[in-house]
Amino acid sequence: MIKQTFTFLALIFSIFFLQAQTTSTFEDFNLPADSFLNGSDGSGGFENGNVFLPNEFTDTGTFTFWSGWSISTATDVTTPGFTNEFSAITGGGFDGSSHYATSFISENSIINLKGAAKGGSVEGLYITNATYPFLSMKDGDSFAKKFGGVDGNDPDFLLLTIKTKLDGQIGADSVNFYLADFRDADNNNDYIIDDWTFVDLSTLGNADELVFTMSGSDIGQFGLNTPTYFCIDNLITNDNGPSSSTDFTVEFEVSVFPNPTTDFLIVDWSQNEGTAQITNLQGRILETQLLQKGKNTLLVGDLPKGVHFLQIRNEGGLSTQKFVKQ
């Protein structure tokens, strides 16, 4: 009875916690397929979930130009060049969705946290390459090189760096995400990101803004030759303000392995009874299981592939870990 009561409370607790996250999927824009919003309506940006994606749009009469962010449902993964600047190389949003956001970085791109997310931590987001830079890095063009160079051995890379800004101050920590990485001596390990990849931003702490900058190896005196576009989707913000998340992040001594995994997870912890809960990135609970002291086995073979959260809690606190189901 006690266990059942605890489980119930834990569920209520976890639901409260999970509701304290908001995922910006950009689906609310309801764009038809193969279309985009590039700020031509003068909106200055796009609000979705608890974030605002700024956009700068210039109309010179015969030519329009934008920087910052656009919202896209473009699906073209084959046309190289500037005319296909809105498409993600995945051909759509994360997990088969249609909407996503594409950024063109001039100096940098920023995302403003709004409402309950402002000043809080950001869980993470999915990132992939836009088609334009992907094909440019893969095949080269008149102004940018094919990554790897003439012999495939050039240690090329395209790096997206994410930092936070809080109260006008840039945070000291950063998260680096390689949109392409050819630096390994073994060319078999060279890659250009071509699927949605989760990037964990929880280590960056509280923020009012996320700041994205791009750097790379194909650089000249005019800056990067590689087109500076990238795409994001399913940005997860914690909505409880600067202090709320810390209330729940009492760390247990717990080890979870293997990660990535295909069939099972071993949860080894020193506490007495507790609850393990597996959720997807949208916060939907997929599995719940009671834990005993010592090694516990969680079967995950039926879960969809991708990144999931494992939340372990008892009366002493909560620990959240991420794992990848392959």
Binding site: T58, F63, F65, T79, P80, K145
Partner: protein, 653 residues
């Protein structure tokens, strides 16, 4: 981004190489392909050309008395200017003007590959710092401020010359590093006919015809040519890498130059010229690009009328021209289809007065109207330029002193007064000293001003002073050395803005200075003649202002501006047999990508034999280009061909 890079952004370019061991194979293959593919050209030729020959007085070699009308040289032969010249025969040894300048001058040719664009850099200047004149009228693109020399067939030029150093006072915008002057002239014979054909490596095949004839009181001169190449050469970036065959590099060009001359009196000449040319070329991928499907069509129509009157005291000249050029760039893979074009109408009148045997005065007025359009211009821009120029030359014994001045209004705004002062003189029969000081400028191009987004209507002209002094020792055999010094302010660079697009600004000051040395040694023995000539240039051309965008340090050498370049040429004539060898050395150059292109040596060998008969003569020429099979590129990632061959046959009446 420099102005020619902007050009490249809307144009695009090419490159690289291959080695062929059996040139005759190419000759035969190309001949078959030619006659299969070019039936239309042949039909056109006979439809157009044959009536002209029917009218002509066949095989009448009477000399034209009118050919005595001489050109004024006060503008083009500015005292203190070092000049290099090539006549028709020397020009015919090269397919394009780019080839000639690369092999026989100190001008650096920025070639993007075989059949691809080629721009010039004279004395460390940019591509827009060399004025190009066709019979005295500037023919650079007002959109790009430059001319693609790979499109200039030498067969359409009778005389070419380079006037080194600034001469904006005489020729206006762009005459900073030098002036390249291309002229046509009537031949002495009443009738002449020349047919030339050549075939070579990489599917290259040319056919050209030139004829001069009489139609009543008019002398007509018709030139027509067709050239094509697959340019499917192979190249190997490094010996450990696979050999790559160039793709999407085919080139097909055709052109017509029609001239009419009328000499109403022995001292007057009216010439009317029409030059139409069309070039289709594929734009190959770079060495770090998987493929390219891009192509470009360049079309130019140039018409001009010149009238000239010469008497003992006065030379009057009136020139007018109407030029149109289209560039149609396509890249189906990138869904790009861009057409750009311009119109340029020019008119000028000048009078040169011979005050006495020691003094000459020239005064001229010119006006130009330019219109251009491309999708990237907000509204199709126009420009009106009016200039008044004058020149005075004083001879004092063996010395010439010349002063030039120019005032110009561009769309109602005055360009600063442009003066120049030059001198030359004989210290002795074997020693000439010359020098000049000149102020020179380049107007912003239409792309600089009106490109959308980014064009900057407030750009100032690039402007600055240049000085030079030189000596020449000897006459037929000689040695010369010229030191020059030049600063150009308001140097225009394109750079990314905070909004992400590019915009040009007057960002830098560039200081160019250097030493040019030339020599020629001539040895004649009975029926043999040996010429040995060459040159070595050491040129520093540095940014004097540190810039963040683009990232340039103070004192940094310009991109693609070699500090060292040298060339040598050996000509041996023995009776009807001639052998030529030329060799070029280009020193290392910096690229905008923080890399250095290594120095390279290129050698070219040519042998020819002339068959002379009473009524006709023919010449057979065999060329081996890049005989040392050098692996090189002028522009990063754009390899050039290795050893390749060409056979040429010329038939003259």
């Amino acid at each position: 981004m420099t102005e020619d890079m902007i050009g490249l952004r809307c144009a695009l370019l090419h490159r690289p190489d291959h080695h062929v061991s059996i040139p005759i194979r190419f000759f035969l293959l190309s001949a078959v392909q030619y006659f299969q593919k070019q039936v239309r050209f042949i039909i056109t030729f006979f439809l157009f050309g044959f009536p002209l020959f029917a009218i002509a007085q066949i095989v009448d070699t009477t000399l034209l008395p009118q050919a005595e009308v001489k050109e004024s040289r006060l503008r083009s032969d500015f005292a203190g200017t070092r000049v290099e010249k090539w006549n028709t025969n020397e020009l015919s040894a090269h397919a394009t003007l780019a080839d000639l300048l690369q092999q026989e001058s100190g001008i650096f040719i920025k070639s993007y590959g075989l059949g691809s664009s080629a721009t010039v850099a004279t004395r460390g200047g940019s591509a827009g710092h060399t004025a190009v004149l066709w019979n005295g009228l500037p023919i650079q693109s007002p959109m790009l401020g430059l001319l693609d020399f790979s499109l200039m067939p030498t067969a359409f030029i009778d005389n070419a010359e380079i006037q080194y150093g600034g001469n904006s006072a005489a020729w206006g915008s762009g005459a900073i590093g030098g002036v390249i002057s291309l002229d046509n002239q009537v031949e002495k014979e009443k009738f002449s006919l020349e047919i030339q054909t050549s075939a070579g490596s990489f599917g290259q095949f040319d056919l050209g015809l030139k004829s001069q004839y009489q139609i009543g009181k008019w002398t007509g001169k018709t030139r027509i040519f067709q050239k094509q190449a697959d340019n499917d050469f192979t190249y190997q970036i490094r010996k450990d890498l696979p050999v790559i065959t160039q793709t999407n590099a085919a080139f097909n060009q055709r052109g017509l130059l029609q001239e009419f001359y009328w000499f109403p009196k022995s001292n007057q000449e009216l010439s009317i010229r029409f030059w139409g040319q069309q070039t289709d070329r594929e734009l190959p991928p770079t060495a770090v690009q998987t493929r390219s499907l891009a192509s470009q069509k360049d079309e130019s129509l140039r018409g001009s009328i010149h009238w000239k009157s010469v008497d003992n005291k006065m030379v009057w000249q009136v020139r007018s021209g109407l030029f149109r050029e289209n560039i149609h760039y396509k890249d189906p893979e990138r869904l790009t289809d861009a057409l750009s074009y311009f119109w340029n109408a020019l008119g000028e009148v000048e009078g040169e007065y011979f005050i006495n045997k020691n003094q000459q005065l020239l005064i001229g007025l010119s006006h130009a109207w330019t219109f251009a359009d491309i999708e990237n211009y907000s509204t199709p821009p126009q420009q009106n330029r009016t200039a008044l120029f004058a020149s005075f030359k004083q001879k004092i014994k063996n010395w010439n002193l010349q002063i030039n001045g120019r005032g110009e209004i561009v769309d109602g705004k005055f360009i600063p007064f442009i003066p120049s002062l030059g001198f030359n003189g004989k210290v002795s029969d074997l020693l000439i000293i010359q020098g000049k000081i000149s102020r020179n400028y380049r107007l912003p191009t239409f792309n600089d001003l009106y490109w959308n987004p980014g064009g900057n209507i407030d750009l100032l002209p690039e402007i600055g002073w240049g000085q030079e002094i030189g000596i020449t020792v000897g006459q037929e055999s000689f040695y010369s050395a010229t030191f020059f010094n030049r600063k150009i302010n308001n140097w225009v660079y394109w750079s990314p803005t905070d909004q992400g697009f590019w915009s040009p600004q007057n960002l830098s000051e560039v200081w160019s200075r250097g030493l040019e040395q030339r020599f020629k040694w001539q040895f004649i023995f009975e029926k043999s003649k040996l010429n040995l000539s060459g040159g070595y240039d050491f040129i520093l051309s540095t940014n004097q202002v540190a810039i963040s965008k683009p990232s340039i340090k103070e004192g940094e050498q310009l991109w693609y501006a070699p500090q060292h370049s040298a060339f040598g040429k050996l000509d041996l004539d023995f009776k009807n047999f001639q052998i030529n060898y030329n060799h070029q050395l280009t020193g290392p150059v910096r690229t905008p990508n923080f890399t250095i292109l290594k120095k390279y040596h290129i050698g070219n060998l040519s042998a020819s034999y002339v068959f002379k008969r009473k009524q006709w003569e023919s010449q057979l020429i065999f060329n081996v280009k890049n005989i040392w099979d050098t692996n090189y590129s002028v522009i990063e990632y754009r390899p050039m061909p290795g050893r390749n061959y060409q056979t040429q046959l010329i038939f003259k009446i």
